[in-house]
Symmetry: C2
Subunit: 140 residues, 2 copies
DNA sequence: ATGCACTCTGTACCCAACTACAGAGTCAAG
DNA sequence: CTTGACTCTGTAGTTGGGTACAGAGTGCAT
């Protein structure tokens, strides 16, 4: 049960067949081997890669950024210092995202708590979530 | 120093003037009062709202979702149960995002650690990050 | 009182990321 | 050995989220 068709990997990753080909054109997915007919033959772990892409997109990464993440690996063709620098940059970015999410989360928690009562009070507490702090970050 | 011009709020929120008007058309920003000339006059806290929108976008929320977040508030015109249900739904969504980010973060940490050595080993450890677990979530 | 920056409306254009054909060939279950 | 689902390439269309004018009016510092 080794190689999968494009339809199979697409279904498994919950994306469209056209999208898989699109990612290939965009360089996010290596060109797979073909059979004589020209049909693409995917190794099953392609599904993981596609799923990663889908999830990372939902986290606000662009396809370009996702490509960079996927290229990060222990790689003899690249200096360790480089890889580590890239990894650290991404980590800072992610740290900032998590912080922002945590703030919104806290605001929602507070909202739920407040709403338990019946008061008509309060403006929009959500706005306080990402206020001002302007966490140091390179503004992507 | 009360009311601000569109140029001022745009600059303060680090977005373009055209974008502010765009958000107004999209219903993310209430139509502000105008002076006789037709110039928009913004209350200064508009800046916070705009900043929130900018940040939330970076977290992968669509403008539609951001609108829903901003509409969440203690509101006499809406049942408390409704607001709380909405809040909880958003919280679950955010929880999932934070989990995914934490996984990528962990993978990057591991990568950095591994890379400290010099081995040529290892495929793409990042892929393990968002693997399979398929956390229960309504697939937005 | 004038010039330069700013704002107005409206329309058109742009980019990322798909999504949908058309027209031709392929696979495999019955 | 046919037939219906699947795949191929290539090109075109769509959606979300802006961005860029054009042409006309406004504010204000000198």
């Amino acid at each position: 049960m080794k190689p999968m068709t494009i339809g199979e990997v697409a279904k498994a990753a919950e994306i469209g067949v056209e999208t898989v080909r699109f990612y290939e054109r965009e360089g996010l997915l290596a060109e797979p081997p073909r059979r004589q007919s020209g049909y693409r033959q995917y190794p099953p772990d392609t599904v993981r890669r596609l799923r990663f892409i889908r999830r990372a997109k939902e986290l606000g990464f662009t396809l370009k950024e996702i490509g960079e993440l996927l290229d990060l690996r222990v790689d003899p063709a690249r200096s360790c210092a480089d890889v580590r620098a890239l990894a650290r940059a991404k980590m800072a970015d992610i740290e900032a995202k998590m912080l922002d999410l945590a703030r919104i989360q806290a605001a929602l928690t507070e909202l739920e708590r407040t709403c338990r009562g019946k008061g008509p009070t309060s403006d929009c507490p959500i706005l306080d979530a990402l206020d001002e702090q302007e966490v140091t970050r390179g503004d992507r």
